[in-house]
């Protein structure tokens, strides 16, 4: 899996590069409009992370050029601008997703996996981990080939945590992913605990080889038993 990161902020760039390499991706970087454009022309990527505020040009223009080249690369726009106009424009131009800074790193991770999965041509849209198979489109979970009944929130939490296995997903990251941005003021994210508790119980009852651990003060972590 190859990912191109187009980002002018060196710290952000280093951070993303490190994180994505840890996740097992091949990462290439570009810190200007022109170097980004050159890379897009020369290579194919599974996913491009695109900052729209670049020193020598607008990332949206880069996106437009990419689409005129008929390339199928998935694009996630990363912008510090929480501007509806830019969001609409970016998605209209064919971006797969739009993420506003600051974001949770696990959220970015989940989004990258989602767009890559969606763009897969072979129809292999299952998310597999140990003895768990999740069909995201049909919202079905199989544990040892036996169906596991989850409610909508439990299902979403499971998918989110599976995409971020072995990483700490903070309570606010989970809340924002499942319940939406508006929950951000809640502070008191303990309300997700009841959903996690039920999910964990169901996983254990079905002898899943994964478990959800609480990380005190931070959130939760999906681990392989």
């Amino acid at each position: 899996m190859k990912i191109l990161v187009i980002e002018d902020e060196p710290e952000m760039m280093g951070l993303l590069k490190q994180f994505l390499q840890d996740e097992g991706y091949v990462v290439e970087i570009a810190d200007t409009f022109n170097s980004g454009l050159n890379k897009i022309i020369a290579y194919e990527y599974d996913c491009i992370l695109l900052d729209i505020m670049l020193p020598d040009g607008n990332g949206l223009e880069l996106l437009r050029q990419l689409k005129t080249m008929n390339k199928a690369d998935s694009v996630i726009i990363i912008s510090a601008k929480d501007s509806l106009d830019d969001k609409v424009k970016g998605l209209d131009l064919g971006a797969d997703d739009y993420l506003t800074k600051p974001f949770h790193i696990v959220e970015l991770n989940a989004r990258i996996k989602s767009v890559i999965r969606r763009n897969k041509a072979d129809g292999k849209k299952l998310l597999e981990l140990e003895n768990i198979k999740v069909n995201i489109e049909e919202r079905m979970v199989l544990v040892n080939n036996q169906s596991l009944d989850l409610n909508r929130k439990e299902f979403d939490i499971l998918v989110f945590l599976m995409m971020n296995k072995n990483r700490i997903a903070s309570k606010s990251a989970i809340a924002e992913n499942i319940w939406g941005d508006y929950i951000d003021q809640a502070n008191d994210f303990d309300f997700i605990y009841s959903q996690i508790k039920n999910l964990r119980k169901k996983l254990r009852d079905h002898n899943a080889n994964i478990d959800i651990n609480a990380v005190y003060g931070m959130g939760y972590k999906l681990i392989i038993r």
Binding site: L15, P102, F103, I168, D190, Y216, G217
Partner: protein
């Protein structure tokens, strides 16, 4: 008072004074002229009379003015010699009319052919001041009315014509919106003063548009510049928390720092939103079905309210449809619902009532009644909750203001926020 009426009032007052002064002067001038003419007549009459009388052998003394309008009286030589022809106004009794009347009196003296001296007094016809004044006043009144009417007409015509550029400029200013992009020029005018005014206003507006744009740019850039380091900080800490060999207290500390960063970021976003609302950057409007928005948002928060054991009652008396921006309507309802939830107490309750002209949301809380006047101010925090930005209600107020809604707070053992499209 309109300018046109203002000048009219002034002009008519000035006209009135001038016409009146002029009338007085004219009256005296005219009277004087009349007297001069009469006096000349009297002088001629005198010559004729003396010619006729001086040869009369017996000059009949006449003591009263009769039909001939003169009287003659014999006087001593000394007296006669000192008499000079004198004209004066006098009142004469008329037995015909049985009243006094005003007339001109010529007193003169002459010597008859027999060498005797006589004094003679002659009077003219009646000099009717009253009638003169009356006639004069009537014609002046007409003149005044005529002048007044023509002033109105001229005023209307001239002022309208002259002030046309001014009204054009007013309309131009009315149509002007700071956020409506390119600045067009006001209509040209040949009048120098108005042209100067146009130029001054144009340059004033240009300055303002520039300041507005740079402020907007500044706010956006500031937000952008702040979000990036915050993003770096948050993400680095998130990765750090995933490192092995961290003690639970380290992780707790990291979590606290992340939370602070997130609050800062939330604050930043709220301020940006507030300035966007106040800058009227949410322009598009549509018919909003509030039943749909309220139901959706209550549902979105249901997990949280269930966890806090807060009972929510949604009472839909009638649906409320109002034309406003969709995003703002969402934020408005969401902030009020959030407010009612987060300031609620465990096992509290929320009643949301939807009417045909608005909605109200009542919540229980451990906090007492709040000062209604300062409640909607920025950073006016009443709760000690860390997560509160103190901007939620300021945003509600800003949305209500730009959308033409009324938002009020009252307290009746429960905190009640009401949003209505009725003008208070």
């Amino acid at each position: 008072m309109k300018l046109i009426n203002h000048t009219l009032l002034f002009l008519s007052a000035i006209l009135f004074v001038t016409v009146s002064l002029w009338a007085i002067l004219f009256y005296y001038q005219f009277l004087n002229q009349v007297k001069i003419t009469i006096d000349e007549g009297l002088a001629n009459y005198k010559i004729v009379l003396i010619d006729n009388l001086k040869d009369d052998s017996v000059l009949v003394q006449k003591d009263v003015f009769l039909e001939n309008n003169f009287m003659v009286k014999g006087v001593s030589e000394n007296y006669a010699l000192q008499v000079r022809d004198s004209y004066k106004d006098t009142l004469i009794y008329s037995p015909l009319k049985n009243s006094d009347y005003r007339t001109r009196l010529l007193t003169t003296a002459f010597v008859a052919s027999d060498g005797k001296y006589y004094e003679m007094k002659l009077i003219s016809q009646e000099l009717d001041n009253g009638k003169l004044i009356e006639n004069l006043a009537t014609s002046l009144l007409w003149l005044y009315l005529f002048l007044f009417l023509s002033t109105i007409l001229i005023n209307n015509f001239v002022l309208k014509k002259t002030w046309q550029p001014f009204y054009q400029l007013l309309k131009y200013l009315d149509d002007f919106r700071l956020d409506k992009g390119a600045l067009r020029k006001p209509a040209e005018t040949k009048i120098k003063e108005f042209s100067m005014l146009n130029n001054s206003i144009l340059s004033l507006l240009k300055t303002n548009v520039n300041i507005y744009n740079s402020q907007k740019q500044f706010i956006e850039n500031a937000s952008h510049e702040m979000q990036t380091p915050l993003a770096i900080g948050i993400n680095k800490l998130e990765l750090l928390a995933g490192e092995k060999d961290l003690s639970p207290s380290h992780i707790q500390n990291i979590a606290d720092i992340i939370e602070s960063f997130q609050r800062l970021s939330g604050l930043n976003k709220s301020l940006l939103l507030l300035s966007k609302i106040e800058n009227k950057q949410f322009i598009s409007k549509e018919q909003i079905n509030f039943d749909e928005i309220v139901s959706r948002i209550l549902n979105d928060f249901s997990d949280y309210t269930e966890y806090r054991k807060i009972k929510i009652k949604y009472i839909k008396k009638e649906n409320w449809i109002f034309e406003m921006n969709r995003d703002l309507a969402d934020i408005l309802v969401m902030n009020l619902v959030k407010n009612a939830i987060f300031h609620n107490r465990q096992r509290g309750s929320i009643d949301l009532k939807l009417f045909s002209s608005g909605f109200s949301i009542e919540n229980t809380s451990a906090e007492p009644s709040l000062p209604a006047d300062r409640l909607f101010e920025r950073f006016n925090k009443h709760s000690k909750k860390k997560s509160s930005t103190g901007l939620g209600l300021a945003i509600v107020k800003a949305i209500a203001d730009v959308s033409g809604l009324n938002v009020t707070y009252s307290y009746n053992n429960r905190h009640i926020f009401s949003v209505s499209d009725q003008v208070q």
